[in-house]
């Protein structure tokens, strides 16, 4: 395997996992500053408003924590898939299918006690996301169809399906807007009364060590990584590559589905098409900036959550479009890629 940086192991790890991501974030913010200057706004004002919007108040910090939950869950799932070199870019659709399944269970069995309904919603959402992810996985395994294109195109299908459901069969007749009826108390997540914090935060945090254990402490995780590192070698070693490709899609789809459940049960309390500002796509960047490691993904999810929450107030205060955060996301990934090149050259 190629070594990314010459030197002792810990030095290499430090550069790869700490220095490169931090440098990439910093450089992206610098390039972003130039772009901000180009449209005649003082970048210090803009970033000041952004930082204040993300860190300034208790409410802001709560919001950032909440917003990082779906990013963390999706990022963790994608880290599993990407480690296996399965390019699932359909987390957005898997998220929506999870949200849909959870809402359906929550509305249908809302009269049951919370300790029955909430786990049922969670399981249903995980299964729905997993099933939606399994489609490109099976097509890849059975027919060699690129999972990249199919998983992405299924996003459009899932979102259109949900928008049909909330426009007609699941629509709340009391409102004009296309959205489902609200979930009952038994079907909503809570944690600390008086704040918007909900138990989804705990579910997501528990998944961090869980993903680590699966990937590095189980034979299954080992096989996933071998398939990702060298599918030919994996095949010679007797690993069922196709089965692991499907498993990677199912697991990442399942986690995205769970994220969907948490958003409807914890934040919106009903189904609508506006439940995701592109979590599935930001999740890809989260997994990559997190260097495909659970701790890294945790930090990256928090960072991008701050960025998006901060960007809302930046738009209010200095009038910069929130699309700036998309640009910064893309730049972060490009800078990570470029730094890998620089450190690899150093070795040669």
């Amino acid at each position: 395997m190629r070594v990314a940086f010459a030197g002792a192991g810990w030095q290499r790890n430090l550069v790869n996992n700490v220095v490169i991501p931090l440098a990439a974030v910093l450089l992206s913010l610098v390039v972003g500053a130039f772009l901000i200057m180009l449209v005649q706004v003082n970048p210090l004002d803009a970033y000041g408003a952004l930082a204040k919007g993300a860190l300034g108040t208790v409410r802001a910090v709560t919001q950032v924590a909440l917003r990082s939950v779906p990013l963390l869950l999706i990022g963790l799932g994608l880290l599993l898939a990407f480690r296996c070199k399965v390019w699932n870019i359909g987390a957005e659709g898997q998220f929506f299918m999870g949200a849909l399944a959870a809402t359906w269970v929550g509305l249908s069995f809302g009269s049951w006690p919370a300790w029955v309904v909430l786990p049922a919603m969670l399981v249903a959402a995980g299964l729905a996301g997993a099933a939606w992810g399994a489609i490109p996985g099976l097509l890849k395994a059975r027919r060699g169809t690129s999972e990249i294109v199919t998983s992405l195109l299924l996003n459009y299908v899932a979102i259109l399906f949900v928008s049909y459901l909330v426009r007609l069969p699941m629509k709340d007749p009391q409102y004009y807007l296309p959205q489902s009826a609200p979930l009952g108390d038994a079907a909503t997540l809570f944690l600390i009364p008086g704040t918007r914090l909900h138990a989804g935060l705990l579910i997501a945090l528990v998944c961090v060590p869980l993903v680590y254990l699966v990937l590095w402490k189980t034979p299954f995780g080992y096989r996933l990584r071998v398939v990702g590192a060298n599918p030919t070698a994996a095949r010679y070693a007797g690993i069922d590559v196709a089965a692991h490709v499907v498993a990677a899609m199912v697991l990442s789809g399942g986690l995205a589905g769970v994220a969907g459940m948490i958003e409807v049960a914890g934040v919106h309390h009903r189904l609508m098409t506006g439940i995701s500002p592109g979590f599935g796509y930001t999740g890809i960047v989260v997994a990559l900036l997190g260097r495909l490691h659970p701790i890294g993904v945790l930090l990256a999810a928090y960072f991008f959550s701050s960025l998006t929450i901060g960007a809302d107030s930046m738009q209010r205060v200095v009038g910069l479009p929130v699309a700036l955060t998309d640009i910064i996301q893309a730049l972060v990934v490009l800078f990570v890629l470029a730094s890998d090149y620089v450190t690899q050259r150093k070795r040669d």
Binding site: T150, P321, A323, V333, L334, L337, A338
Partner: protein, 313 residues
Amino acid sequence: MSWDALLSTAFLISLVASGIRLAMPVLLAVLGEIFSERSGVLNLGLEGIMAMGAFGGFAGAFASGDAWLGLLAGLAAGAAMGLVMALFSVTLKTNQVVTGISLVILGTGLSAFMYRELFGVSSRPPRVEGLPDLNLPVLGQIPVVGPILFQHSVVVYLAVALVVLSWAALFRTTWGLKVRAVGEAPSAADTSGINVAQIRYVCVIVGSALAGLGGAVLSVAQMGLFVENMVAGRGWIAIGLVIFARWRPSLALAGALLFGVADALQFRLQALGFAAVPYEFLLMLPYLLTILVLVGSSQRQAGPAALGEPYVK
């Protein structure tokens, strides 16, 4: 509305005619991706490149008042994105999948950012004058064939000419032979004196320019305005259609027409108030069709042997 209306000649003629028109942005993107992939670079950034082309085209046409200059600006915006893709995937030898995905995010974000900065948000978005439909003398008067083939804007004939040109460039010139050699066996091509990096740069930039032009056709020639997310997956559909087309310009035309007719059908049925199927399911048609076509064609074809692999000497 009855089934008879669907099967009438007038409906079918207008369906195919608008299918041809709607196929053009995708066709240009497919052609572009064929150049890129034939040289061994998987350019997944099309969706973002088309968004930049759509924005650049609109802004160019708006500023100059000339649709042609707009299309040229879209072409240039696409080429600029292609330069970034080439810089990373060829010179820096980065992972092409990851680079492509970040270009999608970059192009979508940058086009939305610049549009908001330059044109603001308004309930009545600014529009530009598109290109007029031609009605070719004599040919345009032929029944059935005339309205289907000979009453389009110049863009349609230009795109079809580009199909022939791309075919000729890839399969009838020495340069095309080099491109295919670089995509199949870069080290052998290198040994025989072909500059692998140069070929890949040219192919990725030309390919992205074509995708940018496709985006500009969408915004300038067809809609006359720019809307965020107006590309709506066409870039991804184009990547899928490249596989269906077996990396051949002629089949690219067939694939794009398939998409175009599905898109036109969806529009027409909505316009006719076809109530039997909710419009969301009609909107799904082009995406589902692309997936089906991809599944149907993916097993036999492998594509250029070095596709997706950075070339390291």
